[in-house]
């Protein structure tokens, strides 16, 4: 009997305990049930747009979604809604659905705020870089590198955080120098990069190491110095041609200015002469002819910071290389300057070439008055101070100024005159042709000022002077033609009037 009780005890008690441990069975949610789920007020959780997007998906993507639901990477209708609300193109959606890291980290029910990818990070108290919309736009994500490309691990595994060795553990927020090396693992490897973008350079690290930015970061261990993510961002890195990229031409000034306009960040940095590094470059650039062209007119050919300073090797151009930066675009002016007397004089004084007269960040639109020689004028002031001995300088500058001013004034005068003559019905085609020649000569003359040679300048100005002479003649001729028309009209009217008068008198005589 005791034996029977023992046997029953051995068999039944564990069975009862086991039975008691069993919770009521809950059916795992299906994709269909998530799509049809309703909130407490009876309103559908999946919006109409999300539903329409789902209906438009191909069978493969629907199956991937189904699998994600079955494996419980997607377990809540709100989570499904978040993924559908991205409205991704099929290729991107496939990448997302095959990426278990992104699926799991976008589920608000299982993630803490600091680990949650959200379409609206602020409302979930997540960090700004955990923006799911940005992540799916990231060039690395789009190339299939996904989270594991940097963070390691296996995105196809059901669970796990098998980080690669390179990923620093603690302290990575304090010393950012590791980032450049980390990115360079791939970006300095031509063979690896060739798989994704054969046109992309792989010398960024080498350039950066030698640049003042790189020196500050890697040698002086100054954490204020920028590294890759400072300019390119963290998640959501886009190609430089993408207008939303932080390094897109029109956004470069603000990106650089984020540090260089901040006196606090720039405190302690100095120019080669020991003066504190100014922080007004961005403000000056915005006002300059280049800033206006790029930022206001949207002319992407206009230079941003990196076009003169370089990007990964960003450095202030030295005195000798300023003109080289300018000559990338203003080649004619630069070559004329190189062959001029000014070149030697500037070298003697160790003056930066272009910026001596035109400035650097605040380059204003040039004006013919710069050639004037009176007090306060650019040429005159400089020459009175530094080239007193040469009697030819001031008369040459005066000659340049007078010739260009004359051409400019003539061009305006003839344009106004030809508009008036055209309205009177006169043929202005010959005048327009001459005006084209004059404009051409005027533009060239303004460039050839940089030869600082009367003879060279004269060669391009002479056709302009000739065009003025011819246009003067043509305008006079057209005015004469108009006068002839008026005189002809007056004569005709007189004749007709005489006829009218004689008919009137005849009528009176007949009817008397």
């Amino acid at each position: 009997m005791r034996a029977i009780l023992v046997i029953l005890g051995v068999v039944l008690i564990p069975s009862a305990v086991f039975a008691a441990d069993q919770k009521p069975a809950v059916a795992a949610p299906t994709l269909a049930s998530l799509l049809d789920a309703k909130d407490k007020s009876g309103k559908s959780i999946i919006t109409q747009e999300e539903r329409a997007y789902y209906n438009g998906l191909n069978d493969n993507l629907k199956e991937l979604l189904n699998q994600a639901v079955q494996k419980e990477f997607i377990s809540a209708p709100a989570h499904l809604g978040t993924l559908l609300s991205l409205q991704l193109r099929p290729q991107k959606m496939e990448l997302l659905l095959k990426n278990n890291c992104a699926l799991c980290h976008s589920d608000p029910e299982v993630q803490t705020p600091e680990d949650l990818f959200s379409v609206a990070p602020a409302s979930h108290h997540s960090p700004a870089h955990m923006n799911l919309k940005e992540i799916v736009e990231d060039v690395h994500f789009r190339s299939g590198l996904s989270c594991a490309g940097c963070h390691g691990g296996d995105p196809t595994a059901d669970l796990g955080h098998d980080m690669v060795k390179e990923w620093p553990g603690k302290g990575r927020d304090k010393n950012r120098a590791w980032i450049v090396q980390f990115c360079a693992r791939c970006h300095s490897d031509p063979t690896f990069m060739h798989q994704f973008n054969p046109g992309l350079p792989t010398d960024q690290l080498a350039k950066f190491q030698d640049s003042p930015h790189g020196q500050a970061l890697l040698v002086k261990h100054d954490d204020r110095a920028p590294q890759c993510v400072s300019c390119h961002g963290v998640h959501g890195i886009r190609p430089a041609k993408d207008p939303q990229s932080k390094v897109y031409a029109q956004r470069v000034p603000e990106t650089c200015g984020a540090c260089h306009s901040n006196p606090k960040t720039m405190a302690g940095f100095t120019l080669p002469d020991g003066a504190p590094l100014p922080t007004n470059q961005l403000a000056e650039y915005k006002k300059s002819v280049h800033g206006q062209a790029l930022l206001v007119r949207g002319d992407l050919g206009a230079p941003a910071c990196n076009d003169c300073h370089g990007n990964h090797a960003a450095s202030p151009p030295g005195v000798a290389s300023v003109s080289h930066s300018c000559s990338l675009c203003h080649s004619a002016n630069a070559s004329l300057f190189d062959g001029s007397k000014h070149k030697q004089a500037f070298d003697q004084h160790n003056w930066p070439e272009c910026s001596k007269c035109h400035g650097n960040h605040d380059i204003a639109k040039t004006h013919d008055s710069m050639l004037a020689t009176g007090p306060g004028a650019l040429c005159g002031d400089c020459h009175r101070q530094f080239a007193k001995a040469d009697p030819k300088c001031i008369p040459t500058a005066n000659y340049f100024h007078a010739t260009i001013t004359r051409m400019d004034e003539a061009q305006k005068r003839f344009t106004a005159a030809s508009e008036k003559l055209a309205a009177k019905g006169l043929d202005i085609e010959p005048i327009s042709n001459q005006l084209t020649d004059l404009n051409d000569a005027l533009k060239k003359s303004r460039t050839y000022v940089h030869s600082f040679s009367r003879v060279t300048f004269q060669q391009v100005a002479a056709p302009g002077e000739e065009a003025i002479r011819r246009t003067d003649g043509l305008v006079d001729k057209a005015r004469g033609e108009y006068k002839f028309r008026q005189i002809g009209l007056a004569g005709s009217i007189a004749l007709i009037g005489l006829l009218i008068l004689s008919i009137y008198l005849k009528l009176r005589q007949l009817e008397k």
Partner: protein, 480 residues
Amino acid sequence: MQSGGSRMEGLSFLKNEPDKNGAEPGRGLLGWVDRRYQVTPLLEFMRHKQVPLGSHWMGWYYLGGITMFFFIVQVVTGVLLLMYFQPGEATAYESIHFLTTKVPFGWLIRSVHSWSAHLMIISLTLHMFSTMMLKAYRPPRELTWVSGYLLFLITLGFGFSGYLLPWNKLAYFATTVGTNIVRSVPFLGDWLLLVLRGGQDVTINTLYRFFAAHVVILPLAFVGIISLHLLFIQRQGMAPPISAKVAPRGMKFFPSFALRDVLLWLACLMLLVTLAVFLPYGPGIPGMDWELGSKADAMAPAYAGIKPEWYFLWEYQLLKEFPPHLFGLEGPQVCLFLIAILLGIWAIIPWLDRRAARNKPSPAFSDFGWAAILFLVYLTLMGWDIGATGAGNDMSLVQRSARVCAWWTLAAGVVMIAFRSWWFEHRWFVLTGAALLQIALHGLMGISYLLAGAISAGLAIIVIAASYFMTSRPNETGTT
């Protein structure tokens, strides 16, 4: 007034027999011609031909002659233009450009041709309305009216076809928009468009057929019909006025009237050359501007707010006032139907105006003419965006423009009624009142143009029917 009998006597030359007065053929050149062609009766006819005078202003009689003068100018300058114009994709624009810039006086010929075209339409319109107001269309001159009406339509055809010939950008797009209207003709629309354009789109083929129409088809038709028109006038004489108060008298056509005609023609010539020299591209009003501009380019974007010539502006505006769909038909179809009815009524007025046919004043038809003027003026002003330049499709600006145009037209209407009642002693203003009511409802109250028109027309019909039943005859107090 010249009696019908004496007129017929004057026309005896048509019988190709000697004058019954027994005038003998003279000597010299005239005698030589007369012996062969019996011109003495013709000369006699001309000697006796008289122009009737009445209580009305003589000036209206000269408008037909002035219109003919402008037509002659068109023929002469047109032939001169033809000597240089080369229709063709690569030559049409270029030849006109060459003519106006390089050919001596080429600019003058083109400018005079353009000015004369517009002045001809102005004088023709005035001629038509004066004929309408004076009831000169009444029997036996119904066909004179109809032939004049056809000449008016042909003149509009001249304007439309000539506009494309310089093959410039403005002309190209205006013609594209203009020809597109025929698409709304029921059943035949698409076919008519093909015929008009010589293809689906306006191409150089369109220019070829517009050129043929402008220099051959329309001139032949015009000359044929104007010959009939003149023959009718010579045969029947000018219409005497309906006036019971002033005894009819006459003015000798030769030399008194003819010399006055010549005098006016010379004054018109003076005006024409003055305008051509000082405003060679027109007065600068939209729809009255012929600066050559750039060459036609089918690929170029169309002008924003492109408008037709001023004399087509009322139709253009009327089309805009129609909704896309009405009575199960397309809006433009209904609009074209309405325009066809209005033009049809205008054509058969001599048969509709039964009182004028009995030589009695017909105030209702006078009022119809004045109402038509207000109708055209209001639509034209709106077409010009008066009060809101460049209104385009901005509804608030369109309404502002309608309000300004309504005020102007209402003011003109009030002045018109006051003048008519004081000067002509008119007392019948039902149709003018209806036109002004429609303008006020649309322009000032913001009611849709068609609804305003329906309300006004309905009220006018009620008033006319009521007065008909109350008096059994229309009011006769008014005079023409």
